[in-house]
Symmetry: C2
Subunit: 165 residues, 2 copies
DNA sequence: GTTATTGCAAACCATTTGCAAGTGT
DNA sequence: ACACTTGCAAATGGTTTGCAATAAC
């Protein structure tokens, strides 16, 4: 399900990251480039292990160590380019926060899928409530839990009538 | 800040828990009673350590071991009486899910306070979106992040003009 | 050349678990 | 009596960190 569209951005993720690093006297290393290249190649959600696996799968053999992955994860989060969305299987799950519009999530209790959606009314309601409470908003996070359309579709059975007790 | 009101419930937390335990062939032990007594004494958010500290502070010396605290935490969650709300300092933070109305949270980025609020429009918007996407909703969780009124109040200084550079 | 960064292995720390002793029903 | 539970100590597993070697700038 692809409901959240990409947004025009002036510069590429690597450039954006470089920009951030420069302001902090930090360096754009080979490992950091590899990391960003892998993680921003698509718009999937990911966790530390996902990234470790992806970089170790590279044909050019240029991988990135486990500790560096964790370190770059924090850097990108500080840079505001990724963000923690959830915790699944005792792991922090991240998503891009650069190049894509603000959105929220459905989490299916059956298949575990994270489904993204955008909706202006959510933002409006949150903003209004924040205003009422004198809260200066930086962002919000909405998770709707339930069963997705795919999983709640009735399974094909022969004796449908038996369900109607 | 007290914005979420309690709700009339037929039976006490202990009775409710007992009810759940009975259906599973589980037992209401001394430790479980102590735990529920402490945790439902107020409506604060809490984590495992909070509970461990509270039970060890009891004058009657009837404490509950660390492992039992974790075990009862899961039981109460299964029973639908508490629920994870957030993760702070690498710890799971819980709140009551029994005896109180559905509500959402502001999380202050400065003082870290969790501020509760209820608002029907949030529920309505979420329900509408779920309907649009064929999602069967069980519950939602909304976190608004920002700076609370208290923390964003300008500090009292003598030379206010210096701020306007 | 300096100073930040890497990779490794060890450390951390919240949470979980095996097991023998104890307890609710 | 028979499970179910407890507490202890040890294990787990994701994430962090100290340190010597390495690479950006």
């Amino acid at each position: 399900m692809k409901e959240v569209s990409s947004v025009d951005v002036a510069i590429s993720p690597i450039e954006k990251f470089q920009e951030y690093l420069a302001t902090r006297g930090k360096r754009l290393t080979r490992e950091r480039m590899i990391f960003v290249e892998e993680v921003f190649a698509d718009h999937e959600h990911f966790d530390a292990d996902t990234v470790i696996e992806r970089v170790s799968r590279r044909k050019d053999g240029r991988s990135v160590s486990r500790s560096t992955v964790y370190r770059v994860l924090s850097l990108l989060e500080e840079a505001g380019m990724i963000r923690k969305v959830a915790r699944q299987n005792d792991r922090d799950v991240y998503e891009h926060d650069y190049g894509y519009a603000q959105h929220d999530h459905f989490i299916c209790e059956k298949c575990g899928d994270l489904i993204e959606f955008s909706n202006d009314s959510v933002r409006e309601v949150v903003e209004q409530i924040a205003a009422e409470h004198g809260f200066r908003l930086s962002h919000h996070r909405l998770e709707a839990h339930g069963v997705c359309a795919k999983c709640s579709a009735p399974p094909q059975r022969r004796h449908r009538k038996l369900d109607m007790i």
